[in-house]
Subunit: 207 residues, 2 copies
């Protein structure tokens, strides 16, 4: 089919994108708030302001919807990393990424990592787009970690994977929720503490 760039179809496609984006945003919020298992498609539809069946016109299954959200999230993470000024050190980049994720979570926008729902897990791993992003991010992270280790600012005795996985894990650290529940700290303070503890540990850095 031939069409101009300004045809009605193009506009309609843009509308689609806008709607898709709204759905993804709603899903993101709900995933962050309740997790995959407890999130229902009814809620997503309500939050996005459309009917449930309409939702299924956009995303053909709950799992695919979740995969789309996770993929978008990884894209954002990669974009964030890529957008950091070139003079930023490797360790600073690692720290900034963790901070970015924690801030996202404090704003209600970070879907927890794939809980351990097995069906979701396998759907994700079968999802070309998702896996591609994961691999790309892993590659970037591995570089940063190795550089930082070579510079001696990250424990060189730890396997690269341990560092990477720990960083990923810290983005969904439940301590964040606990601290927030006390009501004693600002979001900034909570994030500061978590980043600090992730890098310096409970022992702290002796001078």
């Amino acid at each position: 089919m031939v069409m101009s760039f300004f045809s009605k179809l193009s506009v309609r496609e843009q509308q689609q994108k806008v709607r898709d984006e709204a759905i993804l945003e709603a899903t993101s919020l709900l995933l962050a708030r309740k997790g995959y298992d407890l999130m229902t498609m009814d809620e997503v539809a309500a939050e996005a302001g459309i009917a449930k069946a309409s939702l299924y016109k956009h995303f053909t299954s709950k799992e695919l919807l979740a995969a789309a959200v996770m993929t978008r999230l990884l894209d954002n993470a990669l974009a964030f990393l890529g957008g950091l000024p070139p003079e930023t050190s490797a360790r600073e980049k690692m720290q900034a990424l963790l901070r970015w994720a924690l801030d996202l979570r404090l704003g209600g926008g970070l879907p927890l990592l794939p809980s351990m729902n097995p069906t979701l897990q396998s759907t994700l791993l079968a999802n070309r787009a998702y896996v591609e992003r994961i691999l790309k991010l892993n590659g970037r992270m591995a570089e940063l970690v190795k550089t930082a280790q070579a510079q001696g600012v990250i424990d060189p005795e730890l396997p690269t994977e341990v560092i990477m996985f720990t960083l990923y894990a810290r983005t969904c650290d439940p301590a964040l929720d606990y601290l927030r529940m006390t009501g004693k700290y600002t979001n900034q303070q909570v994030a500061d503490y978590l980043v600090r503890v992730a890098f310096a540990g409970l022992r702290g850095t002796p001078t």
Copy 2:
């Protein structure tokens, strides 16, 4: 009703305890493996070798069952802490408790902390026995943390709560699962890494 200590009822009560224990153990495994939401009462019954309806004779709801498991877990944690030799330092005790929890998890026996299922959460907080244990453990932990901070072996600039919550959070660190999935490390190594990173951080301890 009057009865001897060796009456049949007493025996029957013992049978009850044994069965209860088997159910709790089965639930523990399943909670650890699938989490609360995905665990079904059918599975629990199957794993415990009884019928679903019988299960409901022992525990009148899924939530109460989970609460019982969590309470038992906290009892075990308290017993473990209490059983450490008196000469153990505060920091060693903290470390030992984390290690104990991680070993439990590696053995498949640690139900993750209350996911964030809201109904479960409120059931737990309404459960006298559970809350009692939580408060007791929190008390013990707060003592240990303060002592260790006073001794300068735990970062004294961090609020006690940050330390405590971080420790709790580390017991369910997803990095453990990631590392195990690589298949590159023994369970011992995985636990060693996690404990080390929890206390020394990613930066490591500069000599």
